[in-house]
């Protein structure tokens, strides 16, 4: 390795610095290029598109309002398409009343419809209950009983991961 005193290294630095400066100064003066803003509208358009699509997904699918409760032991669930989804919550449309309702597929349903719903898809091996945190256990217990009678025993309670303290 090349031995060099601290003084020497400073010299090398100042030398390379002057070299760079010379190179920069030797360039002919040019006007500064402006950043093209032509793509900005596109970007904003895509953002708008994004928010529109996301909002529509939520509104079309859910007839009930579901805010899942927090749970620190939440685990990621397996494949989405192999799971039955049951939604329980207050109807988002005020005309449908304020008491909690069950949603299966795209329509409101009664407790007794749960068994038929689960039996219609025997290849789906588990059920996810998306229940709003404000709902009382009565209706959830009824659905659980129906699931037990339909022998659909693997159940997930949808929840949100708790923010770490």
């Amino acid at each position: 390795m090349l031995q060099c005193s601290p003084h020497c290294s400073i010299m090398i630095h100042s030398f390379s610095y002057s070299l760079i400066m010379a190179k920069l100064k030797s360039k002919p003066k040019r006007s500064r290029p402006t950043i093209s803003t032509a793509s900005l509208p596109d970007i904003i358009f895509i953002l708008l598109f994004f928010f529109m699509v996301v909002a529509i997904i939520q509104e079309n699918n859910l007839l009930v309002k579901v805010i899942p409760p927090h749970a620190s032991e939440s685990e990621k669930l397996q494949r989405h398409d192999e799971i039955n989804h049951i939604y329980i919550g207050q109807p988002s449309n005020k005309n449908a009343g304020t008491s909690p309702r069950i949603q299966l597929n795209d329509a409101f349903a009664e407790v007794k419809d749960v068994q038929r719903f689960v039996a219609a898809n025997p290849q789906k091996y588990s059920t996810t209950l998306h229940v709003d945190e404000q709902v009382t256990m009565g209706i959830v217990g009824d659905v659980k009983t129906e699931l037990r009678q339909a022998n659909a025993l693997k159940v997930h309670y949808a929840s949100r991961k708790k923010a770490e303290e």
């Binding site: 093209s36 032509a38 793509s39 596109d42 970007i43 895509i46 953002l47 994004f50 699509v53 996301v54 997904i57 899942p68 409760p69 927090h70 749970a71 620190s72 032991e73 939440s74 685990e75 990621k76 669930l77 989405h80 799971i83 996810t128 229940v131 709003d132 945190e133 404000q134 709902v135 009382t136 256990m137 009565g138 959830v140 217990g141 659980k144 009983t145 699931l147 037990r148 009678q149 022998n151 025993l153 693997k154 159940v155 997930h156 309670y157 949808a158 929840s159 949100r160 991961k161």
Partner: protein, 176 residues
């Protein structure tokens, strides 16, 4: 004649593609579900025989005001986890707690008016207690975290510390 050299500037294409990528990323994460997995007991018409020994059962009752009763004692939900761990491990070898974690059973009962939020919170604490104990057992036996164990080791731990939560029929004080 003046000629326009019109070329589409492809410089922004990368940005647009990047945004599209973010879009798909975000939309797919919305679909990913998180939850607590439980296995419901099979349906039987006959009432379940109460042949479990009393010392092996930790009864947790939640009333319609979302208050907890653990073995006849009012316990705040924040202390449920430590109570459960103490019950399962029984460090002081007490005679009113199970001899080994293998035989421990948790009996959970709620009211029809209990809020779902509280129910999940209770369930979560019970599950957290078991996860905690399994984690410690994994470190003690294999020196590794439970998630990093292979299937057989996980199975062995699950067999020795089984999570048994039996749910009684919910009470219904609203009608009475």
């Amino acid at each position: 004649m003046k000629r326009f050299d019109n070329q589409v500037n492809a410089g922004s294409m990368a940005d647009i593609a990047f945004l599209l990528l973010i879009f798909f990323l975000v939309t797919t994460t919305i679909d990913v579900d998180k939850g607590i997995t439980v296995k419901l007991p099979p349906w039987t018409d006959e009432p379940i025989a109460e042949d479990v020994i009393k010392r092996n059962v930790l009864s947790v009752k939640v009333n319609r005001n979302d208050e907890l009763l653990v073995r006849g004692e009012v316990v705040p939900i924040s202390r449920l986890k430590e109570r459960t761990i103490e019950f399962i491990l029984n460090p002081d070898q007490r005679t009113d707690m199970p001899r080994s974690p293998r035989v421990a059973v948790i009996s959970l009962q709620n009211d029809r008016e209990t809020s779902y939020e509280t129910y999940i919170a209770v369930y979560n604490e019970l599950k957290a207690a078991y996860n905690n104990i399994r984690q410690e057992e994994a470190l003690k036996r294999y020196g590794k975290a439970y998630e990093n164990l292979n299937k057989e080791a996980k199975k062995a731990i699950r067999k020795d510390i089984p999570l048994v939560i039996s749910e009684a029929e919910p009470t219904d004080f609203a009608l009475k």
